[in-house]
């Protein structure tokens, strides 16, 4: 029982970290941009930040 809970928690942490890495990485790209990114790239990267945040919210909402 405790093993199941530990495994679920480990998976939650793993999935949250993966989404956090994506969100942070693309947010940094946008923040550091000196005008080299195209409008399409900026929109794509901002969308990836938003999608990663939505994934994190869904993971937390589904957590016990």
């Amino acid at each position: 029982m405790a093993d199941d809970a530990d495994a679920r928690l480990a998976k939650l942490v793993h999935d949250l970290r993966s989404s956090l890495t994506v969100a942070e990485g693309f947010a940094q790209l946008l923040a550091r941009d000196t005008g080299t990114l195209s409008p399409e790239q900026r929109a794509d990267f901002a969308g990836r930040v938003a999608a990663a945040m939505a994934d994190m919210r869904a993971l937390l909402d589904a957590a016990p």
């Binding site: 970290r17 993966s18 940094q28």
Partner: protein, 213 residues
């Protein structure tokens, strides 16, 4: 330009890493989400470096590393994992991986690890120092000489053999000879494993990094 592939089962992370690593100037040749697809991808693309998640749906990234290095001995493998587990770390280093990066780290840390390994060096996440520095009952193993400790310390900091040679004014061959001797003395499988054992035994110590707990 370093050619690399990404093997990770988390779809958003895999696809994100492809873009982020490309933006950082690396040549990302492809990505795969499991062991079988990873083997196939690397057989076909022959990259310089593979970034490999340890937990994959059809097997372990550590076992994948062993298979990859049998088939492609020159491939550099960086294990990328959420687990800060001691046994997994030792097993990972035993597999021949030259880098061990925790997902708890930032993208900048991952890039720094990839670049160090691509330049011929090695990298173990500084968050694992506590595990590596824990005492181990291996007192029968011979001690390192001061010169060997100096070289292993520089190697643990991520310097390549060439950079170490320049720094301590000896030839690259001399550096390599010392490293081979250290590997033999410590009964290590490779350079990264030797660094891990040297740290664990207290033969060398790393300065704490800013932000370490």
């Amino acid at each position: 330009m370093t050619k690399l592939v990404v093997i990770d089962d988390h779809e958003a992370l895999r696809s994100g890493l492809e873009v982020l690593l490309s933006q950082a100037g690396l040549d990302v040749m492809g990505a795969a989400g499991n062991v079988a697809a990873g083997l196939d991808l690397i057989d076909h693309t022959e990259p310089d470096l593979a970034l490999v998640d340890i937990r994959l749906p059809d097997g372990s990234g550590i076992e994948l590393t062993r298979q990859l290095l049998q088939r492609h001995p020159d491939l550099a493998v960086v294990l990328y994992t959420g687990d800060a587990d001691a046994e997994l770390l030792y097993e990972g280093l035993d597999s021949g991986a030259r880098g061990y990066v925790l997902k708890a780290g930032s993208m900048d840390e991952l890039l720094s690890a990839i670049n160090q390994v691509a330049d011929g060096g090695s990298y173990v996440d500084p968050r694992l120092d506590r595990i590596l520095l824990s005492p181990r009952a291996t007192s029968h193993v011979p001690q390192l000489s001061p010169r060997e400790r100096e070289i292993m310390h520089l190697m643990a900091e991520g310097h390549t053999a060439e950079q170490i040679g320049d720094k301590i004014t000896v030839s690259i061959e001399t550096v390599r000879t010392h490293v081979r001797n250290v590997i033999r003395k410590l009964q290590a499988r490779n350079r990264v494993h030797a660094i891990a054992i040297a740290l664990e035994r207290g033969e060398i110590q790393l300065e704490p990094q800013p932000g370490d707990g």
